[in-house]
Symmetry: C2
Subunit: 249 residues, 2 copies
DNA sequence: CTTCCTACTTGATCCGGATCAAGGTCCGAA
DNA sequence: TTCGGACCTTGATCCGGATCAAGTAGGAAG
């Protein structure tokens, strides 16, 4: 199958399908973009369902178009640790590996833009830029994972919660292209339990610390999920991170 | 397991310089190997000294030839978390990034095989295979970082120590190409404090748990650093990991 | 409306690992 | 040889977060 060049502006597919945007569009190589575009297919996974289990054969790679998924690891006795939070535009899968290393679970309804792994690998061979972008993205993920190691190993429960909220605000704000002024607000995309699994805490501790931050006036909440940040700097102070190095630099 | 291509000559450089071995030699492209080989230079860093500070301009990439280095992150109040342990053949640096994201410190005397970053990036452009190998290596590191997140977030102190010992045994054994039979022994390459920073513990807890493992007969120690593992399976049971999935699969 | 269920909150208690403190051991320098 | 310092061990106590337990809020189905 071949692409029908029925495109006026190459960016339409980019908007449509983040994987193309992030892996290819750095220099917007239109021809390759169209070739790849023709091979994509979509897949939706309902909230709560698992996309792949750790150890499963995984014959595709994908990028999140909408919704939220998690990467988790579980020990035999049930202890669970989330090792990644996948938001729209994030990449799933490993060119060069056939087995999934972690469980991927949809937290909300998720739409994936997929490519058969083999197809994608061939594309990578022919288009070095894709591999380079993927390397860049992977290096970023590695940095993020290492930042998270500091959080898991050394931060207090309160700092962990504040850091998570700060990260969600930032990702949220960057998606909505908002400035830092005005009261920031958003809905928590995770249950207390999912937050606990991400932060290496129990759900009770998460609940208590959120209440504590509310009582201190660092955050306000309407209902159980809707959070308002009256003063971002106030929240950032609670994260334990360097004032404006690191996360928001 | 990966097949080792049996070639007579070009491997001399490989032995010499792990970065060539790991980044280029998967298919042993001799010409490129020699071209790259001509551009390398060596650098040695004495034990205890810092190779680069987080945030520093870093105009080279390197691979560890000998010795042990650590990747660490420190909060303003001094809390420290090691986020990576760099052993011979590991890669240091980020093509495409100019600033170091973490502190790199030599734990023992370290010899690095370096390339100017620009040189290496040009080489990557011309030789897609290098980028592909680097992507593969980075994905492996990402998996390792995520495994470590489970350790930091969910494992007990005893499990953490056992896991660290198991990892050291494995890396050590693979370097020496030993089988799993006979008593395994090695010298700890880290101080109690460095282990604590790696595991998200205090040095006192590390010391106590090592004593506890000794009293249980899981390990034996001569002096403070030399460890013997009388029964590897015994140690593996203590790690909390799946019997023979995961780490030793 | 009631019922049920899931997600969440809050309280009481417990415990693993942190913290504080006091040695011990080994090694290199004077 | 003694001294000082880095590294390690062990004991006593403390505390943050886990665990156990009870109850609340709110949405969906009947």
């Amino acid at each position: 199958m071949r692409a029908q060049p029925q495109v006026t502006t190459p960016h339409i597919q980019c908007e449509d399908c983040p994987i193309l945007h992030r892996a290819v569009c750095a220099k917007c190589e239109t021809d390759e973009l169209q070739e790849l575009d023709a091979l994509k297919y979509y897949r939706t996974v309902p909230a709560g369902h698992t996309v792949v289990w750790s150890g499963d054969e995984m014959d595709f790679v994908a990028s999140i178009v909408s919704g939220i998924a998690t990467l988790t690891q579980t020990m035999e006795d049930g202890r669970t640790q989330m090792v990644g939070l996948l938001l729209p535009s994030d990449f799933v899968g490993r060119p060069g590996r056939s087995e999934a290393a972690f469980d991927v679970t949809a937290t909300t309804d998720v739409t994936l833009c997929c490519f058969r792994k083999k197809t994608f690998e061939e594309m990578m061979m022919r288009t070095p830029r894709i591999g380079q972008r993927l390397l860049e993205m992977t290096l970023d993920e590695l940095d993020a994972a290492r930042e998270w190691m500091l959080l898991l190993g050394r931060k207090t429960a309160r700092e962990k919660i504040a850091t998570l909220l700060a990260i969600i605000v930032r990702r949220d704000a960057s998606l909505r292209l908002m400035g830092k002024d005005g009261p920031l607000e958003f809905d928590l995309p995770l249950t207390r339990e999912a937050m606990a699994d991400y932060l290496g805490l129990t759900l009770e501790t998460v609940s208590r610390q959120i209440s504590a931050l509310r009582k201190s006036g660092v955050i306000e909440l309407k209902g159980k999920r809707h959070i308002t940040i009256p003063d971002l700097d106030r929240l950032l102070e609670e994260t334990g991170d360097d004032a404006d190095g690191g996360m928001f630099a």
